[in-house]
């Protein structure tokens, strides 16, 4: 709801709003649905991985860390292509009929966001001082307790990781364009069109002002999500 009011604040700033509200609202909805779902799934996978890698000493840890860090810079277009080939009618998951759906977009954004969240969380977890963990052990904590203590200590870093993952997901255009197809229904509501692909479409038609406007909405959206996460982080601190 705060989102809708946030967008409403924007309207008086422009002389003439060039879009149907339904159109913008549906694009925002698709963008948020896809990116938030992808980031939530990525976090569920990435956090345990980051904790595991951060805690354990094993051979190849440096190599694994560099693989994760490389994944942070993976071009979204390439990820889109790989996902497309996997889910295409002729691909290994062709029977699932995922091409040009929001599910496909979630998959590709998951692939994009997961290394970012893992990598940044790993750095945050690793930087929690050994003596904090030792203290948790010394006080009779189990491994789970130690993990919880570590997460609490590293919560700002982890929040940053999640936000970085979200930023990567919602701002990328390459992969969602390829696997999603930038589809809008004929009544003008988005099916697989996100803010970024809509911006791309507007810019392609030389309508730079409307593209900029959609860009502003995207920035506001990211800002709102950031504010909410930071708020949650602080709240967690109070009870922690």
């Amino acid at each position: 709801m705060s989102l809708a009011s946030g967008l409403a604040v924007l309207t008086p700033l422009v002389v003439e709003f060039p879009f149907e509200w339904n159109y913008v609202r549906s694009i925002v909805r698709v963008s948020l649905y896809v990116s938030l779902t992808a980031v939530a799934l990525s976090t569920l996978v990435s956090l345990p991985v980051a904790l595991l890698v951060g805690f354990k000493e094993f051979r190849g840890k440096t190599l694994l860390t560099s693989v994760i860090n490389t994944g942070m810079g993976f071009p979204s277009v390439v990820v889109g292509l790989v996902v497309l080939f996997a889910i295409s009618n002729q691909g290994p998951f062709g029977s699932w009929d995922l091409v040009f759906t929001t599910e496909a977009m979630i998959i590709s954004q998951f692939v994009l966001a997961a290394p970012v969240i893992t990598g940044v969380s790993l750095a945050a977890v690793s930087s929690v001082e050994q003596n904090v963990r030792d203290a948790a052990y010394a006080l009779g904590g189990t491994r789970v307790d130690v993990a919880i203590v570590t997460i609490k200590e590293a919560r700002y870093g982890i929040a940053t990781a999640v936000l970085a993952g979200f930023g990567r997901a919602i701002s990328e255009v390459g992969s969602v364009l390829i696997v999603g197809g930038n589809i809008a229904a004929s009544d003008g509501t988005s099916v697989t069109r996100t803010l970024t692909t809509a911006i791309q479409l507007e810019a392609e038609q030389g309508r730079f002002e409307t593209a900029m406007l959609l860009g502003a909405i995207l920035v506001v959206l990211v800002l709102v999500v950031n504010a909410i996460v930071v708020r949650l982080g602080n709240g967690g601190g109070r009870y922690g």
């Binding site: 009618n89 040009f100 197809g181 004929s186 479409l201 392609e204 038609q205 030389g206 309508r207």
Partner: protein, 319 residues
């Protein structure tokens, strides 16, 4: 709501009524039918299904397809997912079986698609034309040429910047054919020949910013004319220009023998867009007060060459 109820009724009724599900479904006014059929595995209705249409950017960004698809969706209770790509990409997507039907505008690529067995039941759909656009002051002196060869040679000789689509789209394919017809070799062009590597809108914007010439389809150019400062220097056949600049669009269904596609619905869609109703919508569609596309599917005279690759003869067609 009505669709939901009909669906329910159809489900209850299926198996009791006999008949060909597909045919009955296509004749209906929205949903289904007293069909069903004895084969339980067959879909008894098309309502609620999705048709994936890959198409060129020009049909999409002009807004024609929204106008054209809405009545079809209403009548059949289905959704058309329109994916705007270049002609090359649209056909490639179809080759992989990721779309059910394509609307494109490069006959040579369509023919290849059909000859490779991926496409069936091609129909002529509509046409408009290409125009050569450039800066108002026309540095190469293209204006007034009645001849494509002369116009292109003038651009090449003067070394004026020309932005090519360079994206394997229908417009790109036509552009390359035109250079070749004019006896010019693209590979030997100098720095004035730029590869824009984008959609028609992208390239028009780039040409505008660089003060360059480009080949554009009339529809997209008209749609963007307000945004850019380019003018037409060589008209296409719609305005009495050379026939070589004709831009015909075809619609082709993906072969259901090759891919698991929604062939029934694809054929219903082809039937609709080539019907009197569909063709009237195309004919009546305007942007900025200009007609963008001209209907071509309806003709009392037989036109066999629309169904088969160009130059096809029984003798060389196999058999």
């Amino acid at each position: 709501m009505t669709i939901q109820r009909r669906r329910f009724l159809a489900a209850v009724g299926s198996g009791t009524a006999a008949g060909l599900a597909g045919c009955a479904a296509l004749g209906g006014d929205g949903a289904v039918l007293e069909s069903g059929g004895d084969d339980e595995s067959r879909p008894t209705e098309i309502s609620g299904e999705r048709l994936t249409l890959t198409t060129t950017t020009s049909t999409y960004t002009t807004g024609l397809l929204d106008e054209l698809n809405a009545p079809f969706e209403d009548r059949y209770g289905v959704t058309v997912d329109t994916v705007p790509q270049g002609t090359g990409a649209a056909l490639e997507t179809a080759r992989r079986g990721d779309s059910d039907v394509v609307i494109v505008h490069a006959r040579s690529l369509e023919d290849e698609f059909i000859e490779d067995g991926y496409g069936v039941n091609r129909r002529d759909l509509m046409f408009n034309d290409f125009v050569v656009v450039g800066e108002p002051d026309d540095p190469a002196g293209v204006a007034g040429s009645r001849d494509v060869d002369a116009a292109l040679t003038a651009i090449a000789d003067s070394g004026s910047t020309f932005v090519s689509r360079g994206d394997n789209s229908g417009t790109h394919a036509t552009e390359l054919e035109l250079w070749e017809t004019a006896g010019l070799t693209v590979d030997e062009f100098g720095e004035w020949y730029l590869d824009g590597g984008g959609g028609m809108g992208d390239v028009l914007t780039q040409a505008n910013m660089q003060g360059a010439y480009t080949l554009a389809d009339r529809g997209t150019y008209f749609d963007m004319r307000e945004e850019i400062g380019l003018e037409i220097h060589l008209e296409g056949p719609v305005e009495g220009g050379p026939e070589a600049l004709l831009n015909p669009y075809g619609i082709v269904a993906v072969n259901p023998a090759v891919h698991d596609v929604n062939y029934d619905l694809a054929m219903a869609y082809i039937g609709y867009v080539t019907s009197v109703e569909g063709q009237e919508i195309i004919e009546g569609y305007t942007a900025n007060g200009e007609q963008l596309f001209f209907a071509e599917a309806l003709s009392a005279e037989p036109n066999f060459r629309q169904y088969v690759p160009e130059g096809w003869r029984r003798s060389n067609g196999g058999e």
